[in-house]
């Protein structure tokens, strides 16, 4: 094979399906010899901006990179901030955080499956995925007041309590989605075309997954049962029963099946959490005592939080905090260093998509050009989340 036969193929940065990134493929005929991801097209300096903003202003900032998974990004940041402040949310707020985080996981997985569908040429699954994620968006809007960027989780608690009748509506929503999953199974997952495109394609071996530090469903589809919710449980997870979905095959099909399995586990978690949720305040006593009686009354009748004035100028003591949560696409890390002022001295955020970007060069080689979208879609890679 002479060097002249190999040509460079630039795919992107505009795509018909996912966000902006470029793949630089070296191809020999329609065989991919080597591929490099070229990222950064949607980099928006989240870390630098965070170092100029007050602690409370960072909540909307960290939500922006991953629009399908804002609750988990919000949660991870607030957990790190609470460690710095020495504050803990009351049990009811912990349950509400868990419920929203799992709703977001369902939303994000439907989004990912929809994108995977269109990359394989199945516009049906694209339409279905985007329609069915709407169910969880509507429910989240009812709970938080926003469709995507909830800013629901605040230091010491959450902004709003459950609306009246939320549990019954959620049960209806979950039953509907369960019926829908059967449709997906019939039309998409057991479809011979899907299986031919995905089975045995882009196999990630267990030892490679560990070596490359892969996270989330992509890791668990290669037989590694690592899930932050089990390894280092946070919020209400220690009190809830659920299984870590693991598959051994490590191919694109396994990654799809792990996401389907996780949707079912998230439904299980939401049902339990709504049943077990304890009564009580949704904001920590540390802040509750700063709220004047008039506003306390408002909080009780409206079932929502009035921010105490101190929130505008939080000054955590000198020190550093590290937090990790299991976001929909995998482990999400925050490392915040405080110098005692109103803005963080150093703010570090490592998103799951950034940890997984190495998979493009590792998995997409010695395969056909047609396998590129099949593997790409199976990774549920989200460029804005990776670029931050």
């Amino acid at each position: 094979m002479s060097e002249e036969r190999i040509i460079e193929l630039l795919i992107g940065p505009q795509h018909p399906s996912s966000g902006h990134m470029r793949l630089v493929a070296e191809v020999d005929g329609d065989v991919v010899v080597r591929l490099k991801p070229n990222i950064g097209y949607v980099h928006r300096t989240v870390e630098k901006l965070a170092e100029t903003k007050k602690y409370i202003q960072i909540i909307p900032l960290v939500e922006r990179p991953s629009l399908a998974d804002t609750a988990n990004h919000n949660l991870g940041y607030v957990l790190a901030l609470e460690k710095l402040l020495g504050v803990e949310a009351p049990p009811r707020a912990q349950y509400l955080r868990t419920i929203l985080a799992e709703m977001n996981r369902i939303h994000s997985h439907f989004y990912g499956i929809g994108i995977h569908g269109i990359m394989l040429g199945s516009s049906t699954v694209f339409m279905w995925g985007f329609a069915d994620r709407e169910i969880m968006i509507e429910m989240a809007q009812w709970l938080t007041g926003a469709r995507l960027t909830y800013s629901y989780i605040i230091p010491g608690g959450v902004r709003r309590d459950l609306p009246q009748g939320f549990e019954d509506e959620m049960e209806k929503a979950l039953r509907y989605l369960e019926r829908r999953l059967e449709d997906y199974d019939r039309i998409f997952i057991r479809n011979p075309v899907t299986r031919a495109r995905l089975e045995g394609v882009g196999v990630l071996k267990k030892e490679d997954a560990i070596r490359l530090g892969i996270v989330g469903p992509n890791l668990r589809a290669s037989g590694v049962p690592y899930d932050v919710r089990k390894v280092q449980p946070y919020c209400a997870y220690p009190e809830l029963e659920f299984d870590v979905v693991v598959r051994e095959e490590g191919d694109s099909m396994a990654r799809l099946l792990v996401r389907i399995g996780e949707i079912k586990q998230s439904m299980r978690i939401i049902r339990q959490a709504l049943k077990q949720i304890p009564d009580g305040p949704i904001l920590s006593e540390n802040y509750l005592k700063m709220i004047p009686p008039k506003w306390k009354e408002f909080m009780e009748t409206k079932r929502r939080v009035k921010f105490p004035a101190i929130m505008a100028n939080l000054r955590p003591p000198k020190g550093e905090a590290f937090s990790r949560v299991e976001a929909a696409r995998g482990e999400l890390i925050y490392y915040v260093v405080s110098d005692g002022s109103v803005t963080p001295y150093r703010f570090r955020m490592v998103t799951p998509s950034f940890r997984n970007v190495v998979l493009f060069e590792h998995l997409i080689r010695e395969c056909r050009v047609a396998d590129i979208p099949a593997i790409y879609g199976s990774l549920d890679y989200f460029p804005p989340e990776a670029d931050r």
Partner: protein, 163 residues
């Protein structure tokens, strides 16, 4: 957390401090986080020891710019995916390098998972990781000129609104 896993955590932390005692200047523990301060010259050796214990990947590489000391404190977060007991522990490796010419050995041979993380910090903080095969621009535009943006000397321009 039950008492048995608590004991497991303690014995893991004990193991880390024992094997790193001679190579590090300071070891501190807070909850599940073990902070290890090392000299840049010992970094590779410490990384090898940690790998031997079973810490198999790097979660994050970053640095804190300290303009007054004219130093950068490089911070690695290390843990395990393959061993779920070790996964409970986060090892924070810290090494200080001069901010004028920050050089450190790349950990890519020991932990390939540090590849993109080191590359990001190279462009954001100007740290040169020696032995890294692709120390190139990653997230910033190709025509960016100026100091590494996460250094304190880079100031964010605002439009007069203190938001």
């Amino acid at each position: 957390m039950d008492s048995r896993s608590e004991a497991g955590l303690e014995s893991i932390i004990e193991k880390i401090s024992q094997s790193l005692r001679e190579l590090s200047t300071e070891i501190g523990t807070k909850d599940e986080i073990v902070t290890v301060q090392v000299e840049p010259d010992n970094l590779l050796e410490v990384a090898k020891k940690l790998k031997e214990i079973g810490f198999d990947h790097v979660k994050s590489v970053t640095a804190i710019d300290l303009p007054e000391q004219k130093e950068l404190e490089v911070v690695y977060h290390i843990s395990s995916l393959g061993n779920l007991d070790l996964a409970k522990v986060i090892v924070v490796l810290k090494a200080r390098v001069p901010s004028e010419e920050p050089h450190l050995p790349s950990l890519i041979e020991i932990w390939p998972s540090s590849k993109y993380l080191e590359r990001e910090e190279y462009e954001m903080l100007g740290i040169v990781f020696e032995g890294h095969p692709e120390l190139e621009r990653l997230l910033l535009p190709d025509d960016y000129e100026g100091p590494p943006p996460l250094r304190k000397e880079f100031e964010v321009k605002t439009e007069g609104i203190q938001a």
